[in-house]
Symmetry: C2
Subunit: 326 residues, 2 copies
Amino acid sequence: MSDVSIKVVASLAGVSIATVSRTLNQPDTVTESTRLKVEDAIRRTGYRPNRAARSLRKGHSNHFLVALPSVGHPHLTELIRDIRAAAQASNYSISVAERRDGDLDVAEAGAIIASRQADGVILVGSNTAFVQLGAGRQRSTVVLPAVTIDNFAAAGDATRLLLEHGHKRIGMISGHRDSSVAHDRESGYLEALGDAGLPADATAIEDGDYTIAGAREATRRLLNRREAPTAIFCASDEMAIGCIHELKTAGLLVPADVSVVGFDDIRYAAVCDPPLTTVRQPTGQIGSRIVNQLIDALTTGERPGDEQEAVRHELVQRCSVAAAPQ
Amino acid sequence: MSDVSIKVVASLAGVSIATVSRTLNQPDTVTESTRLKVEDAIRRTGYRPNRAARSLRKGHSNHFLVALPSVGHPHLTELIRDIRAAAQASNYSISVAERRDGDLDVAEAGAIIASRQADGVILVGSNTAFVQLGAGRQRSTVVLPAVTIDNFAAAGDATRLLLEHGHKRIGMISGHRDSSVAHDRESGYLEALGDAGLPADATAIEDGDYTIAGAREATRRLLNRREAPTAIFCASDEMAIGCIHELKTAGLLVPADVSVVGFDDIRYAAVCDPPLTTVRQPTGQIGSRIVNQLIDALTTGERPGDEQEAVRHELVQRCSVAAAPQ
DNA sequence: CTGAAAGCGCTTACAG
DNA sequence: CTGAAAGCGCTTACAG
C-alpha cells in the first residue's frame, strides 16, 4: 500500500518490469503461469500503477474535464452523472471544474488539453459544445459540434402552451443575456408571441440570473409592470421555484392567478406546490452522445461533421398552468 | 497550443530546459533578462507544462479526490464548492467521485493514493472523514479525524423543538441505517424523546434512503401507523421536501396538521411551501478545515491529533413547525 | 546565475 | 513468450 512501484512487483514475481506491464495491459501475450505469479505479487504488494507515469508514457490520460458555469444546479448535476457514466463505460474518467464567466472559453479548454491534464474538455452551459485533442503525430485542438436540444423550439413550445390556455400577457424570466442558450430560449418565446399576433409591447423579459434570488427579483419587476402578466415562462426550474415562491408571497395563487412553466425537469419539479409544468431535457442521451463523439474523434483522429446533433426535448405537463383568468 | 514541450520553449528562448523550469518554479533564481526571454517564448508558443511529467518527477500531484455517496444533493454540492475554494486557495485542485456503497471505504481511498492519482482523499457522507499520504521517504496512508457537526446533538435540538411545541407523537425519516451519521441522528432523536419521558412505543423511525421518493414512501408508512405522528423529523431537507409533498397529497396541512423539520438547510428550504425549519451545517467552515488539515499533514508529515474537530450547527426556524393539534 | 545529467515510473518497439 | 533499453516531459541536486 505504501511505496510500491512496478520494480518491487517484478522482483517479487521474479520477472522483468516489462512482463509486469504486459500482464496488466495485454494479459494474453503472457504465459498463464507468469500471469499468475505477477498477479499474486500485485495482490501481495497492493501495487497500483502510477497514473502520472502511465499518462506521460502513453501521451494521453484517458480523462476528460467537464467545465460548467455552476456546479449546484440539479439539472447540470444530472448531466454530469450521465456524462460520467458514459465515460466510465469506455474506461475514461472525468473531473468537473466550475467556471465563472458566462460563455464558453475555448482558449482555457485548449490550455487544459495542452497541459495534458485531460484528453478532452466538455463545455457545458452556454452551449453544450466541447473540445478535443487530435492524437498522433499532429496534435491540435478541435471544437466538436454541440449536442443539445433545440432551445428555440422548446421555448416556443412552452410559450405556445401558455397561449393555448388563453394567456395574452406572458412574461419571461431568462438567464444571462450573453449566453447562446439563453438567447435561443428568448427568441423562441418572442417568436411564439409574434406568431400569435400579440403586440410587441406584450413581451416582457426579465433577467433571473439562473438563481432563486434572481428569479424572485425578476418576478417582482414583472408584477410591477403596468400590465402584470398572467403567465410566466422561466428558463429554468430553479428560477420557476423562486418565481412561484415570490408569487405566493405577493398573495397570488398559482396557477389560478398566474400560470408558470419551467425548464429542465429537475427532480424538485414534480414535488413543487403546485407540481411544475416544464420542459425535460434528455440528459442521458446528451451525455452519452457527447462522450462517444469525443472518444470517436480521439480514436479515429478525424473530426466529425459540423452539424449539431439534435436531441429531443419533451413538454411535461403537470399542474402549474391553468386557463387565463377573466 | 499544439505539441509544445519545454524543449521547444528552451530552444526558442536560447536557454536550457533547466532554466525554463526555474523561470516557472523559482523565478527569483533567474536573471531578469533571461526570465523575460523565457516568458516571451512561453507566450509565443502557448506552452503549458505537462502535468503528468511534473507529478511524476515531484512525487505528488497537488490534487485531492473527494468521494461522495451521491453527487446530486444540494447540501453536498455546496460542501464540494467550499472544499474546492479552500483547496484552490492553497494551489490544490480537486476532483469528485461518486461512490455507491453507504460507508467510507478506506481501502479504496488508499488505492487511489497509492496510484498517485491524488495526494489525499476526502470521504464525505457517512462521516466526514478523510485520508492522506505521508510524504517523504516513508509513505503511508493515514486517516485524519473527521470534521463534522455533532449530529447527535443537532438531531436532539430538532426533536426538542418539536417537543416544545407540544408534540407527543413524533416520527423520524432517516437515511441509510448503516452509516454513522444516520446512526448519530437517530440516537439524538431517540434520546430526546426518552428524556421527555415519552414511552418507547412512541418512537417511529422509517428509512427514507435520503431520496425524495424514499421519503414519500416512508411518510406513507408513518401515516399508516396506528397512531399517526403529528410531527416528523427528517434527516435531510431533500427528504423533508418529499415528506411535505406526500403529506399534502394525503390532504394534510403543514404545519397545522403535521409539523416537519429538515436537515442541511439547502437553498430550496427557504422557498418551500411552507418555508422549512431545519438544521444548518456550516459547509464553508467544514470545507476549509478539512482541506487545511490535509495540507498541514502533507506539508509537515505529521499526523494531527485524534480528536474530532467539532463545528457548530444551527437550528433555522421558519414556518413548518406549529403547536401540536388538540 | 546557468547547464548537463540523472531519474521519477511507466510502456513499447526491438531482439532473442 | 520474455528481457534490456529507450524515452515520455519534467525538476533538482551538482558542478561550474
